[in-house]
């Protein structure tokens, strides 16, 4: 008998035997395995039950999942993490930005002038690419370098699965997994990292939901936009004593809107697009383990912060070039930027934004960090304000909120523009770093496209409705 024949015979025999063993083969095999496992473990394992000791794990568990303390503890920890991140990031952020923008940038310009670099090369490389990278690094690095290690410490301790346990019920109602609470929280640091974190969700459908909705968590590149716009447009409406409170409240409102959006979209997705995806809930609550602080900080810097930062840098280089190019390429007497802004202005105004904002969101897609500098630069270019900023294609920020307000109002911004910019900053496509990450994680162009188009469409609709309501109310 030839070997190929005898091999076919094996398969044939297997196929016939499969009818005989019946449909519960897997069940009986698992039972056999566990019977063996239990028998062996009974023989070799002994427990010293002599003195009933204080069970630390169980005590902690009772505490962090208790009716009364579970949620307060959770919120307290989240508040501490956010507070440490925000206050801790301020100093290094301003140090970095003064190093990059006030020291390195002029120095590079001088060196370029000394070397006799062509003006366009100098502009493209230093004003375009360098500035974009500098901006991204100085805004992004410090908060991420603080937030992620803190988060990782909580993860290493074993607390995070308990958060998923506490919140699962609400996520279940939206067809999602409790662990999505953590990927959302991670998204407040950075959406790309949040998307990577969805790996801990082992049910395919729930993982896709968490991936597609992570963008509704306001990432740290968008916080500054929210805070700035809230301060100059909304805070200024309130009496000075309350201004801080009112603007903080409006940012919180946007954050909560994002949370609402997450649940709403999760609910919708699980009932429509993702209805047929397989789903299996399981959540293991691992034992508490004392975290190893130095190792954790090291690996979370390497694994999360630097990888994400690197991706953002890679993507911001071409964006910097694009930003510089559109404002310095002239066609028919006006720059490309002006043409584009003119072209998009009607649609922008229709939805309560303007052409500058739309263009800024298109060319600053690699990183939300550079949206405001780009908006300011484009505003100056299109409104032709003399004496403000650093020249065409050079992103900048102004030292005071009132100066910023002045520039924006000179270009016709109103309260509506401010409100809608805050909304649109929440509801628009994820940055290209995040999109790339989604593509890497899902391996699917379809889901990547869905995660980009869904929020923009929502953004347009919401902004349009707000604009209509605002105009109707005669605002």
């Amino acid at each position: 008998m030839s070997p190929a024949n005898s091999r076919e015979e094996v398969l044939e025999a297997a196929a016939n035997l499969r009818w005989e063993v019946g449909p519960d083969l897997h069940d009986s095999l698992m039972e056999a395995l566990y019977t063996d496992a239990a028998r062996i473990s009974d023989r070799v394992l002994s427990r010293d039950d002599a003195r009933p000791a204080f069970d630390l794990d169980r005590t902690i568990d009772r505490l962090v999942t208790s009716r009364w303390l579970g949620f307060p503890i959770m919120m307290l920890l989240m508040a501490v993490v956010l507070w440490v991140t925000i206050t801790g990031a301020n100093v290094p952020s301003s140090l970095l930005s003064s190093l990059f923008l006030e020291t390195l940038h002029p120095a590079l310009k001088q060196a370029a002038a000394a070397a006799g670099l062509a003006w366009w090369l100098d502009g493209l490389l230093i004003d375009g690419m360098f500035l974009a990278v500098a901006w991204v690094v100085s805004v992004m690095l410090p908060p991420m370098a603080i937030f992620f290690p803190l988060f990782t410490l909580l993860e290493d301790f074993g607390y995070l699965p308990r958060v998923a346990f506490n919140l699962d019920r609400w996520f279940k109602m939206a067809g999602a997994h409790g662990k999505q609470a953590l990927t959302m929280a991670m998204g407040y640091g950075c959406n790309a990292a949040g998307v990577v974190a969805t790996r801990v969700i082992d049910s395919p459908r729930e993982r896709l939901i968490a991936t597609l909705t992570n963008n509704f968590s306001l990432c740290n590149g968008r916080w500054p936009t929210q805070i700035l716009i809230a301060t100059i447009f909304i805070g200024s409406l309130a009496p000075p004593a309350l201004a801080g409170l009112v603007s903080a409240g409006s940012v919180m409102a946007v954050v909560l809107l994002g949370v609402g959006g997450t649940f709403l979209v999760s609910w919708g997705l699980s009932r429509t697009l993702l209805k047929g995806e397989a789903s299996a809930f399981s959540l293991e609550l691992p034992p508490y383990r004392p975290p190893r602080i130095l190792q954790t900080i090291y690996t979370s810097l390497i694994d999360r912060t630097l990888i994400v930062l690197w991706r953002a840098v890679v993507f911001s280089v071409p964006a910097g070039a694009a930003i510089w190019l559109v404002s310095n390429t002239h066609v028919g007497g006006a720059s490309l930027a002006e043409h584009l802004i003119q072209g998009m202005n009607p649609f922008g105004l229709l939805i309560g934004l303007n052409g500058v904002i739309l263009l800024a969101y298109i060319i600053a897609i690699p990183a939300n960090e550079i949206v405001i500098p780009t908006v300011l630069m484009l505003t100056v270019v299109s409104a032709g304000l003399p004496g403000v900023g650093e020249g065409a294609g050079v992103m900048f920020e102004l030292d005071s909120a009132s100066a910023t307000l002045g520039v924006l109002e000179a270009d016709g911004w109103t309260l509506l523009t401010g409100i809608n910019l805050m909304l649109f900053s929440l509801l628009h496509n994820p940055c290209s770093t995040t999109l790339y990450t989604i593509w890497k994680e899902t391996g699917s162009v379809k889901w990547t496209a869905a995660s980009a188009l869904l929020p923009v469409a929502m953004g347009f609709v919401v902004c349009f409705c707000v604009a209509q309501a605002f105009r109707w109310l005669g605002g």
């Binding site: 190929a4 398969l11 297997a14 023989r43 070799v44 002994s46």
Partner: protein
């Protein structure tokens, strides 16, 4: 017949050998042996991997952290070992991607040694996976990790009886503190070089109908693939309709898995990545 010498015994603790261990990181192009790290999620595989290779894979107290396969290496007593950190799985019988990666590597990647990292505080569940791995390969070492946790919960594991039951070496360890790592390395070395001959445990409690079907198939498999070390497991997979295994039977790829008896593999350096 006398059982294998109890590997848990500490007279063979090779503490003095640890000086021989050089951490090679990933910079290794020549290795003599391939070692796979398998186990349930969250049992300390990555921690062990890091302490063996000196690399810093992400570890985290979450089931399901290691998703991609990480590789590194170490050298011990003149042999170079390539270490592969497999994704953590509860089982090798279901069909998730993780399980397929782990299963394919253990079966087709033919590691010289498979280290099964076991959480001593969840022994029963971990033994389920151990039993499955032992059906595939007998060249295994069980690393009884998290012994510090087990002690904290006042659990004692009789590692000698465990080794006897499983027929493979069992090394108690606490990877985080580095406890037991030198002895684990020595055991890996012994199994790889044939100093320790394993007699792996085989599933015993299948229902009679299943047993009958399996032995019928094993007979047929014996005719097609003489000396196949894991015919029973292949038979079980065929009965479950595992397409990958069917393909390996059809193409005869399975015949390549028949290897020289353990220990005969001389330490001839292999080139390139496996």
């Amino acid at each position: 017949m006398k059982p294998n010498p109890p590997p848990g015994a500490c007279e063979i603790c090779p503490a003095h050998h640890s000086a021989n261990l050089k951490r090679l990181g990933v910079n290794m192009d020549r290795y003599h042996f391939v070692v796979a790290l398998a186990g349930n999620p969250n049992t300390g595989k990555s921690t062990l991997f890091n302490s063996l290779t000196g690399l810093r894979q992400h570890t985290g107290n979450w089931p399901g952290k290691t998703v991609t396969r990480a590789e590194g290496g170490f050298a011990y007593q003149g042999s170079n070992y390539k270490l592969v950190d497999l994704p953590g799985t509860y089982s090798l019988l279901s069909t998730s991607t993780d399980e397929e990666i782990a299963r394919d590597f253990i079966l087709f990647g033919q590691p010289d040694v498979t280290v099964i990292v076991v959480d001593a505080t969840r022994l029963e569940r971990n033994l389920n996976l151990v039993c499955q791995v032992l059906e595939i390969t007998g060249r295994a070492v069980v690393c009884l990790n998290l012994m510090d946790e087990a002690e904290r919960h006042r659990l004692t594991v009789d590692e000698r009886s465990l080794a006897r039951e499983l027929g493979v070496p069992v090394v108690p360890a606490a990877a985080r503190q580095g406890r037991g790592v030198p002895m684990l390395i020595d055991m890996i070395h012994q199994v790889a070089t044939g100093g320790f001959v394993c007699k792996p445990h085989r599933i015993q409690s299948e229902p009679p109908a299943l047993k009958r079907a399996v032995s019928l198939l094993v007979e047929k498999l014996g005719a097609a693939f003489p000396d196949l070390p894991n015919a029973r497991w292949v038979a079980l997979r065929l009965l479950e309709g595992d397409a990958r295994i069917e393909e390996a039977v059809r193409s005869g790829e399975l015949a390549g898995l028949v290897r020289a008896p353990q220990g005969a593999a001389t330490a001839a350096p292999a080139e390139g990545a496996g």
